[in-house]
């Protein structure tokens, strides 16, 4: 799985994908266990356009949106790794891809060094794919005993804010990676991939209609356990009430970017509803769309975590707050 190439040979790959997508889905979706025999996948799309250099407020400090997103993505990748850690072993519970879009006209895979151009990394490879590590001294009190340790924080993503916003290119690349990934999972009861797009800007390479077409195609991809979940995190400059998992487009006001991202996003599976309501303090309702807008960064973390099915969400959020 780890040597996936995004452009499979056209005829055989197309047939394999068609075959995979023709398999009937289970009656109850999103119920597959994430296990070593059946890993799932995560694809992060990171807006690295010029506007990500604008300031935002994050954890009591002013920093650029790009810095805030880098911290959050790094923390989430670390959390994914921690979920894979069993005893002294790192298990292959998922494959992770990181796509950046900014600067040039096309999106790029963001792994670097020996992992450059590799679309997906396994958790064991992710450990080795850091660009650097930061160290902090941490004091914990465990049952009245104070324990001091030097804690390392691995860094995979550095803040980048540069020029254009080729979001369509990023969606197309994600689609291509997922198609290849899904071909290898045909017929397996695999928890479907999760795509998380983090953006503040206006796409410079497509109209809204073209982006919606890309989103539709991604959301139509599926395993027998369910469709790919496409979630969007909108970093707006606007102040005001944060919108999390809206039920209706009217909840988003008039911001055309927020409304576009709403239309791009998957409706969250019913099996997530109770967790979403509990974690975010939202009302119980019958519809939650997988996006947030005008949100602070803490809500962003919680949002990303919801899309990570092997995590114990409550523990993670509590843990993140303690350590942040």
């Amino acid at each position: 799985m780890n040597g996936l190439i995004p452009s499979p040979s056209p005829v055989s790959a197309s047939l394999a994908l068609q075959k995979a997508l023709q398999l009937p889905m289970k009656a109850t979706h999103y119920s597959a266990s994430v296990m070593r025999q059946n890993p799932t996948a995560f694809v992060f799309l990171i807006d690295q356009s010029g506007s990500m250099g604008e300031p935002t407020h994050y954890r009591g400090q002013t920093c650029s949106k790009a810095e805030a997103v880098a911290q959050i993505v790094n923390q989430t990748l670390l959390e994914l790794l921690l979920r894979s850690q069993k005893g002294d072993e790192i298990r292959h519970y998922y494959d992770v891809a990181l796509i950046g879009y900014g600067g040039a006209a096309t999106a790029n895979l963001l792994w670097t060094g020996p992992w450059a151009n590799r679309p997906f990394l396994s958790p064991a490879e992710l450990v080795q794919a850091t660009t650097r590590e930061e160290e902090n001294v941490v004091e914990r009190t465990i049952r009245d005993r104070v324990i001091r340790t030097t804690e390392k924080r691995p860094i995979w993503l550095e803040p980048v804010a540069n020029y254009k916003t080729p979001m369509k290119s990023a969606l197309l690349l994600a689609e291509s990676l997922l198609q290849t990934w899904l071909q290898t999972q045909a017929g397996k009861d695999v928890y479907p991939p999760t795509v998380i797009n983090i953006t503040d800007g206006v796409a410079t390479d497509a109209t809204h209609e073209e982006l919606l077409d890309c989103g539709d195609r991604i959301r139509q991809l599926h395993t027998i356990d369910g469709h790919v979940l496409l979630m969007n995190i909108h970093l707006s400059d606007e102040t005001g009430k944060a919108i999390q998992f809206p039920a209706h487009i009217r909840d988003l006001g008039d911001d055309p970017q927020a409304r576009l991202l709403y239309d791009l996003s998957s409706e969250m599976p019913a099996s997530y509803h109770a967790d979403i309501a509990g974690l975010f303090g939202l009302d119980q309702r019958s519809r939650y769309v997988g996006m947030c807008s005008n949100t602070d960064m803490d809500a962003l973390v919680k949002f990303m975590n919801i899309g990570t099915p092997t995590q114990h969400n409550t523990a993670f959020v509590a843990n993140f707050r303690v350590n942040g």
């Binding site: 850690q85 005893g87 450990v127």
Partner: protein, 271 residues
Amino acid sequence: MRTYAQTIGKEAPAYPDNEDAYRVVSQNGIWCVADGAGGTGLYAGQWARFLVEQVPSEPFEDFSTLAHWLDCRWATFFSEFQPQAATHYLTERKFMDEGSGATLATLHQGTDTLHWMLYGDAVILCFNVLSGRMRVARPGLTQFETAPYLLNWNSAPQPGGFSGGQWTHLPGNTYALLSDTLGQFVLMAHDALTSNTTDLNRLAQTPTALGQRAARHRHFWNRNHQSFNQSVWRPLQNSLVSIDTFASYTQHLRTQNLLGADDYTAVLIAP
């Protein structure tokens, strides 16, 4: 009383890992099962094995007895595994942040009674094969809908996770300690076969893997209606004669979608 017990990991035979543990001391009348929580912290299997080895000869009378017992023992486990965790920043971080978690179920034989104690969502049952009556230490399927309470070395237990009690031993009584998912199977099958389906019906409406299994039980036992003893209890007991028969039995239940994917442990005590 004779004890039948087996444990097997969820990914067997592909992987040998098993985070459940049990301990039987028949001559002293002690039976216990711990279910290590792989989703929490590190070394769940080792923690489960540590807990069952540490279970005292006297029953846990109340919550404070359990809390005091854990308070006196956690540091031994921590001291043993902290250096191992510290060999890599990831393991150290996870171990220190999340600890190690497990549920615990114990049964202690008294003169005419059996004392039971539960922390978390393991299942302890008393089934009388003569009367067909089943008693459950903590009844109800709804307990499986939320994350279980776990005994963890890094934090004190919570009173809400504790249940304790005793059963008078009667002729025909058999007892079982089951890890959660196998316990769910037995409770769902029992509810379906005894038409006690309020919980089962409600659960079957929920869009989760647990709800899916509840729906499957409702349908399956409606078409395969025999006594609980005949169709569930006796086959379970028979499966415990060897690891192979237990593996075959649980795999059969899995293929029928009656049993979720998990480590499985059963300790069954019968005349």
